[in-house]
């Protein structure tokens, strides 16, 4: 049944919040501040888990179900993603379709939970979320198809295992185009600048964060943790393409992959510190760029 190592899943479950901390810390350093401790996201989660909750009297069971479904679907998607030369716990033909649609399921329930509150702010966030994800999805699929075509394989673990420094030598243009598309999808799906600003103080300008305004306590912990896992998931795919070092030694490979995740986190932090959020009307154009980049990678 198990077709790979369980380690990628364990690493993700344990280290995902750390990646967010790295981004936050990078932003602090760039802004000349000391920044919060790297373990702060973990403390935040623990604290949320120990809190009570306030529910809007408009909401129904959908609102309470949303975070659980969201977290469950991203954990399951994670079970299909390889890391650092280790195959994912499960792999089968077409598994990346399941990954994308599991994320879709999580999003669907987050959106419904937002609409369940009856708040116009959350409705607005939900509307923007579905808009941008509808455009991010083709970009993601075209990117994955480009990788599949490059390697001739139909499952994420073997695809990423087949990409090596040698592949980069003879297919650098294709891989870099794919990578660029995937990075845009990564930023959009994880609600980062330039698509969304997770730390803004104004509800009107938010996308993802405004959808979860009404969640509190353990529900909010599940949402935050799910978001961290989702970021780890996309990051793991990206570094699987960008840093395909397979030296044979498991420890070195894993260390290199973790190092690459660190670099990606710092890079995301630098992007966030050095540019502003795009105007909402511009975001579709950015996602269109991602679609074109991935399509180009396929056409080459």
């Amino acid at each position: 049944m198990l077709s790979g190592s369980i380690l990628p899943l364990i690493l993700a479950v344990m280290l995902a919040p750390l990646m967010q901390a790295v981004i936050t810390r990078t932003k602090s350093v760039m802004a000349g501040r000391v920044g919060q401790p790297l373990l702060q996201p973990y403390w935040d989660l623990l604290k949320l888990l120990r809190k009570g909750a306030v529910y809007s009297n408009t909401t129904t069971w959908i609102f309470q179900m949303g975070p659980a479904v969201g977290l469950a679907s991203v954990i399951l998607a994670m079970a299909l993603v390889p890391f650092g030369g280790l195959s994912a716990p499960f792999a089968f033909s077409g598994d990346f379709v399941l990954i994308a649609y599991l994320m879709g399921l999580g999003r669907f329930f987050t959106v419904l939970a937002a609409l369940d509150t009856g708040s116009s702010f959350e409705g607005m966030g939900a509307s923007r979320e579905v808009t941008f994800s509808a455009l991010a999805e083709p970009a993601l699929f075209l990117g994955l198809a480009a990788l599949a075509r490059q390697t001739g394989l139909l499952s994420l673990s073997p695809v990423l295992a087949a990409i090596s420094t040698v592949t980069w030598m003879h297919a650098a243009p294709i891989l870099s185009l794919t990578l660029a598309g995937l990075i845009i999808v990564f930023l959009a799906e994880n609600a980062r600048i330039p698509v969304d600003d997770p730390t803004t103080h104004l509800e009107l300008t938010m996308i993802h964060e405004v959808m979860v305004l009404d969640h509190s306590g353990p529900d909010f912990a599940m949402i935050q943790y799910g978001a961290a896992l989702k970021m780890w998931l996309f990051a793991a795919i990206i570094i699987g393409v960008a840093a395909p070092w397979h030296l044979g030694n498991r420890l070195i490979d894993l260390g290199a992959a973790l190092g690459a995740m660190l670099v990606l986190g710092i890079a995301a932090g630098i992007i966030e510190s050095s540019m502003a959020r795009l105007r909402l009307l511009r975001v579709p154009q950015l996602l269109l760029v991602a679609i074109v980049l991935s399509a180009l990678a396929l056409a080459l």
Binding site: A72, G94, A126, A134, L154
Partner: protein
Amino acid sequence: MTALLISLLLFGTGAAGSLIFANRGRWPTFIGAGSVIVGSLFGIVPALRVALGAPPQSLRIAWDVPYGSLYFRLDALSAFFLLPIFLICALAALYGAQYLEAYRGRKALAPPWFFLNVLTASMVVVVLAHNAILFLTAWETMALSSFFLVTFEDEKESTRQAGWTYLVASHIGTAFLLVLFVLLSKANGSMDFDRFSASAGAGLLFVLALIGFGTKAGFVPLHVWLPEAHPAAPSHVSAVMSAVMIKTGIYGLLRILTFLGPPQAWWGWTLCAIGLTSGVLGVLLALAQHDLKRLLAYHSVENIGIIALGLGVGMVGLSAGAPFIAIAGFAGALLHVLNHALFKGLLFFGAGNVAHGTHTREIDRMGGLLRRMPGTGATFLIGAAAISGLPPLNGFISEFLIYLASFKGAVSLGASGNVPMLAALSGLALIGGLAAACFAKAFGIVFLGHPRTEDAEGAHEAGLAMLAPGFILAAGCIAIGLFGSAVVRSMAPLISTVTGLSLIPVGQNLAEASNSVARVGYFGAVLIGLATLLSLARRIALSPRRVATAETWGCGYASPSPRMQYTGASFAQPLTEIFAAFLQTHQSFTGLEEFFPQAAEFHTHTDDPYQSYVFRPLFRGISRGMTYLRPLQQGKVQLYVLYIAITLLALLLWQIS
């Protein structure tokens, strides 16, 4: 076959009985609904047996019609389409028995029961017919009986208009079919399907079938009747039409393909292109709708697009000699036929409950219905997730197969076969995202939040007979979502019939595809388990803590009113704005003109671009052209006798020369 004849006989008896006892209060309902249900139960047994691999059966009775014979044949393809027909019609009869009660006293209830029986019987005969005359007779009966069902509320101008559009579209389609069958029968001079041969011009025959059957199926741009007719019909009829009747178009196309020999690559390309346009345009137009049933009708166009994409991918694979792509593509498309019947039936029943409970179909006048209609809401949610192609439900399984086929094609086919595969991939991804957005709107605005109007405030749950069909179909959606691999494996005889490949390689390729589907099923089961576990964990974490209820956080605004909630129109606005080039959304805005503006109004409505820019001008042109023939019609008998004489003379001269 005997069981199928008994079921046809029952439908006939039910039709006659409901008319004979029309004046006896509830008798027509009992007879009409009962005959559909019992007849379907009789019929579903042999259909299931043949679909699962029993040998095909046929029956031939002489018929006094020239070229015609009562030639029935039940093979894997017919059997597969019979299953949803019997299931949905039986559930629709159960549903209708309660739904139509609301019209008692205002409308005669015997005719809809008569026509529902006739419609069911004619659909059964359409998929069983093995003779073109029999097929066309049943096809026409199907069109007419559904026309009379659509125009049930004929006191409404919009309903009459919708019925008229449907009737015209239907007959234009049938005209192409007539030509098609004549051409097919030319070689052997027989209208029996097994003596058809496509000796000349298989490409032309394919195009004729595509237009003729595509009109029924609702391929863009032939779909224009669909968003008119489906909302106008009573909800149980909408369910039957949308879930199974339009699929007879897909059935016809597949049946014709079996006569045409190995498909050419461009057929696959054409179907991919049609699938892509139907899928994307269908879902975009659905997003822009304000009427719940109209929204669902446009989603039928979208799902027919997905089916066409699967067929197209399969055909490209078949013509390229790549069995896995062909088999996975066809399996995905055919499974989607079944899946769409399940969730679209469910959604139309749900929409009927909503319309019944709130007396409106306007999405933006609803809200908060989940509290008032818990059963309808829960099943509608399952249908919404299933139609959006989300795991762990059935819609994902069929889309997954099409994805699998097109990924395989993108990887293994050369530059020639690659383009349709990539179009299918990115198209499916876009359609999936947009469909999820659309159903987040449909479910979220209708069932969640505060009621926006008094209608929604006073909504009430439907009765048991209107709820049960939804629950049965929801269970089906979950079952195929979890145990899809068994279904996929059992489709071998069907796929073999459709593709013309022999049973053993089909079985092997299906087994390979079903391996992945089985994993998807495990993941679905684990997903349900894990989500339940997390919900429990959450409850345990909360149990010692203080759990309070309060108003929704209004970002500081103290007294929000239900009317301030996001509406469906505003929810969809960013997407309709992005795709404005494909949608002709009309906006009208009044008010906010003086310093102290009083009332303001904002309206949007989105017409079907093909209706307003293609068909309406076309038909206007035709009717203008027809006015030139007016002088011929003088109303004088002498003149008409002259016409007859001239015609006879002309024929005579033609015969002599």
